[in-house]
Amino acid sequence: MEYTPHTEQSRREMLTAIGVQRLEDLFAAIPADIRQQAPLRLPEGLSQAEVDSLLESLAGQNATLPAVISFLGGGVYDHHIPAVVDFLSSRSEYYTAYTPYQPEVAQGTLQATYEFQSMIRRLTGMEVAQASVYDGASALAEAALLSMAHTGRTRLVLAGTVNPRFRSVLETYISAQGATIETAVGSDGRTDFPKLGSLLSDQTAAVIMPSPNYYGSLERWDEGAVLAHRHGALLIAVFYPVSLGLLKSPGECGADLAVGEGQSLGNPPSFGGPLLGLFAAKREFIRRLPGRLIGRTVDALGQTAYVMTLQTREQHIRREKATSNICTAQALLATRAAIYMSLLGKQGIAQLARTCSDRAHYLAARIARLKGYSIPFGAAFFNEFVVEAPIAARTVLDRLRSRGILGGIELGGRFPGFDRRFLVCVTEKQTPGMLDTFVEELRDPSSEGWSDAHPAASFSGRDMTPSDGR
């Protein structure tokens, strides 16, 4: 296919073919009083060098990794991405492919997505995984809609603390469906099981349980499943893919649906996106899955062939009765995730999870011993935990930022009474040296000059190159 612009000659040929004198005649039906008469107020064009310079100065207003050390988590995670992921996914066959409208011709794209589905299925221990949706938040929303369609019920219960962004997307999706959301959360941010039990009824469509939860604490999917099933409700397990290298999978715990954010598999944080929604389920829900599903079959010659299957779920066939309005997938990110997972393998992901967890526990233990600091929630965690500072979290984080460290996510805005608390995440990207530096920077906020934090917008450009020989 050619992407060259029209020439004067091709325009004249086209106009002649349709019997029109001038291009303007095609717009004759648009009333004169709503037509733009004056020329568009665009500035003078810039040369490439001037554009480069302008864009660089705009981009320079952002901090990038690894120029700063980041302990940010909260749904988007900074993991190491092997060079092979970039190299392979940059092949134009993957990089430029859009969702195929003649899928059977795009065997390579379909196979890559099929492999991705298979890996997610194995990682989550579920029976089927689809081709991906936009992000973990919308995957959760779709799972909630599925549970309502399947059970014919309208009540949802959140067990434990769900990521606030996931929650707000969920509320948006169900706001017009007459559904209600209730929560069963204890004072430690985890599931209040007695309260959960009391909230469940024959009107409950699903129990939604993230583990780790937003504060990083681990939850009991297996107990959630037992309670939910007792009332004929589904358990929707919200997972963090890297943690499944260490934790019991949603499938092993009896979850009906497993959803999560897949960005941490081979995709960078990228200032919050693009993201990768993961959606896996028990086989009995296969006809209610949203989005795309790639299947493997044999063609008329007996060769392995990949197809988009069960398309009768989708809106181009079932219109307003489709299971969802999603008709695409995050194919490029899913391909990167598949490459990443195939590089890690079963052992690699276990090792990765262990490293993240070990380092996080090391950091938490050291912070807990700092005067004035504490780890308020005593529950088991994977690689994220809440820190309580002796002074306002904002002050601590501002000072850290001036020292080239993104120390964590301030919780006070979203959660009343949490002004001195912030959420810290550790991945394999933070070396032990960086962890020790972090602890040193937190130390003794009552000391002179400590609260002399620079304004949040400036970076002192401190060199954070690890020097522990790694």
């Binding site: 006809r287 398309q311 009768t312 066939i317 079932r318 009765k321």
Partner: protein, 126 residues
Amino acid sequence: MIKENLKYTKEHEWLSIDGQEATVGVTDFAQNELGDIVFVELPAKGTRVMAGAPFGTIEAVKTVAELYAPVTGEIVAVNQKLIEDAALVNTDCYGAAWMIKIRMSDPKDVDQLLSAAEYGEMIASH
């Protein structure tokens, strides 16, 4: 193929009447138009249905169609074999591929339906 002793609907369903009980399926014309049937979604026993309202769906590879209740009543039987083997609709639409049995609340509903001859005329002009 049209069977003489059955009643028909405009939506290509057939009915076989036995006293107050009506057995419902889709016609040969329907299965031929739809192509290979991959799935049939039927309601549970005990569900009440209204004449003219959808009671389920029938899926071919590239399309899905609604199944409409020809009469009003309560579903007293559902063909489980069809749920396991949807292809029966293509091979034996008047026999093994019956879908539901309805206990009619008003047997006179049947008078609204098409006779074999009327159905034959309808599909001839398709």
